[in-house]
Symmetry: C2
Subunit: 433 residues, 2 copies
């Protein structure tokens, strides 16, 4: 199994209605499994094109993962296409039919007869259970090709609904792939979530401490976060424990080198990292947001249970609100301007004292596209963090469009809170592009 091909079907993928996030997700999983996705083929619900796509996929790959086209309606053609291309018949799978009937009974809804279409599978196919929906998936491992070039190929047919597809991949496809390859060939992965360095700066830092032969390095940038992945393949004959130890040693080098730039490991989000750091310190937080307009509060409240640590968020968009809600002095606004470290400091201090929080952060800046000046161009953002010990502030020049500036400013603010709660000496990363 060296060549994986993904086959995505559905008219909705070819008229701009949705992006093919299934292909992205599956590609990421195969990357971590150490298998190469050589191509993605996307076609609509059209019989001739579907047959073309299946033949092409089986020609090109030795493992084909299909998503979509196994629902109950007449434009769901995947199963009959697979049977036609493989030259086999369909069989009615009674256990799958029972499960479909039971799901409708459990929802107390009458079952439209066409739902039983989903219980027909190509002969020789093995059911892949779908715990979250009615359409079962399946696997088949036919021979493909004529005479001397005939070879065994494997194909999985999964639904297009991301939630169902992902669950079935994790429950069934991934364990099957691991079993086929033997554990020795599947890489071990360690993921670091970072903030404060560009991808190329991270690349340089890691190149300085890890040699190309020691691990494969992957980056996942989805603004404003960049994840770094270390992948280690067990050597021939090496035990999993030994490979894990090798990965652990490399991970230690990364932690030491990157320091506070790493805010989490695995899939941890910045919001979650902040919530954990606040919980560890037993600290209660207040926010004072101007240019971010509520985004910091919104992001933190994505974390369940944050109410124990987030007291209030004062979104003070106007000068009047800055004075009335937080006590920012008129003099400060006039002398230094609304976008200044001085104003940010009074915002943070006002939020802390008025809410009774242990720590408060104030953010004020120019998100654009209007409002910039020579001294304070668009993207100027001032941050202040207030505690009982005093107030520290920073001014940063951010970049990009309005939404980009807001998002990056929220990330800086969250990182500042995290660094404070963890007792870091430096409260803000010296951002390195």
């Amino acid at each position: 199994m060296d060549r994986v091909v993904l086959l995505s079907t559905g008219d909705e993928l070819l008229c701009g209605a949705i992006a093919d996030t299934n292909a992205q997700w599956l590609s990421g999983r195969f990357f971590e499994l150490g298998l190469e996705v050589v191509a993605v083929l996307t076609v609509g619900d059209e019989p001739e094109r579907l047959r073309w796509a299946w033949r092409t996929a089986l020609e090109l790959g030795d493992l084909v993962i299909s998503t979509g086209g196994i629902g109950p309606t007449s434009d769901d053609l995947t199963t009959e296409t697979v049977a036609a291309v493989l030259g086999c018949g369909l069989r009615f799978d009674e256990p799958s039919a029972d499960r479909i009937r039971q799901m409708f009974a459990a929802m107390r809804r009458p079952m439209p007869e066409n739902n039983l279409k989903q219980a027909f599978l190509p002969e020789g196919a093995v059911v892949v259970e779908n715990p979250l929906g009615t359409a079962p998936g399946y696997r088949a491992s036919p021979r493909w090709g004529e005479g001397a070039v005939a070879r065994e190929v494997h194909l999985f047919v999964l639904p297009g609904v991301p939630r169902e597809m992902k669950r079935m991949f994790t429950d069934t496809v991934e364990p099957w792939v691991r079993a086929q390859r033997g554990s020795g060939l599947t890489p071990l992965v360690q993921t670091f979530q970072t903030f404060g360095m560009s991808e190329s700066a991270l690349d340089e830092e890691i190149a300085a401490i890890i040699q190309p032969g020691e691990a494969r390095i992957g980056f996942r940038a989805s603004f404003p976060k960049i994840a770094v992945k270390l992948l280690v393949k067990p050597h021939p004959g090496e035990s999993t424990a030994a490979a894990e130890a090798r990965l652990g040693e490399l991970a230690g080098r990364v932690r030491e080198r990157l320091g506070g730039v790493v805010y989490g490991e695995g899939e941890m989000a910045m919001e979650e990292a902040v919530a954990r750091a606040l919980a560890a310190r037993g600290a209660r937080l207040a926010l004072a947001e101007s240019c971010t307009g509520g985004l910091i509060g919104h992001r933190l409240t994505e974390v369940p249970g944050i109410s124990a640590h987030l007291l209030a968020d004062y979104v003070v968009y106007s000068n009047a609100a800055k004075s009335d809600l937080l006590g920012v002095r008129q003099e400060t606004l006039v002398t230094y301007g609304a976008v200044s470290e001085e104003t940010a400091r009074e915002m943070a201090e006002g939020a802390r004292t008025r809410s009774g929080a242990d720590v408060a952060i104030g953010v004020t800046g120019i998100a654009g596209p209007e409002g910039g000046s020579r001294e304070r161009p668009v993207g100027t953002v001032c941050f202040a963090l207030a505690t009982a010990e005093g107030v520290v502030s920073r001014r940063h020049q951010l970049w990009g469009t309005r939404d980009w500036v807001k998002l990056l400013a929220s990330q800086f603010a969250l990182d500042m809170i995290r660094r404070w709660a963890l007792g870091h000496a430096e409260l803000a990363p010296g951002f390195r592009r």
Copy 2:
């Protein structure tokens, strides 16, 4: 030009690093141009696979749009692949080389010599200007196939950077496509942005007023918004003006049928619709958010210039903050609970009077996953809108995960403000699934 094939290249698309949003965007544009995208092929930066993909694309389509692989580095292989597949040489395009040199000079950065690689184009190709980056694109219209089946095909090679690709498509590719087809064949499009009905409910409503032959109907659902598109193709011999009048009449039927469910036309966002409605009424707004945690403020502040209409956003996550910041009475919190219409009303009224706004909205609910009860399950959200005339409130049962509940609640709240500012009789849609 009946069959469009999209060819996306880049290793980053096959290891989970990014989703192929270019393919989605291009598919949507071709849908509006009335052309069918029959397939998307995605391959990495690997010479053999790239050649396979190009041959396959030219076999299958008569218009091929390629994105990616035209940068300056050694793994950018698109142009040499195109030349190899078409069996032509490369030529050095001096004007493109000049432009690349000038861009580096303007940035005051030395130009790495490999950037001039981007000035090589296949013989016979026509430059497609890239106003936003160094890599020029190009078009070629070779004959493809042998003997009797040979036919003219068209191919466009564009960069993978979405911003550059979109601009070049809009500036050059789209006008070229329209010119090739003649205006008579390109459909006219009218888009409606809606909130308050599911896709299937919208489908039913529109089926009741527009016959299948009158227009093609498309839906674009990206939660929580659903856009409805009407597409009308000019009849043979019909003038553009007459077709526009026909579309205008159909659009009028949709406006009348859907009423307040339509919040905008074209690509208007809900945030923008609210900002315009507030500006039209000359009203100043305050927000009081509990479960949405700042999301409403964040969304509104995505609109440049909103500071003229948004005074303050009180994010009062705790009971103490509800009392201290907005004067919600202890008695109300104890008797009715923090998630109640009564609390929402006092939040809205507190935000209005304390900020001096004309209108304020209060939102409190249970975003989950914890905190639900039999009387108030997860997804219960209460809304109140306060003005000098009084307070109205609503309770809705929303659904889904925490982020989903927050997003949907923010959409309800924004829609309520919009409906108030426009003077609608009903302030909240009777949500129809």
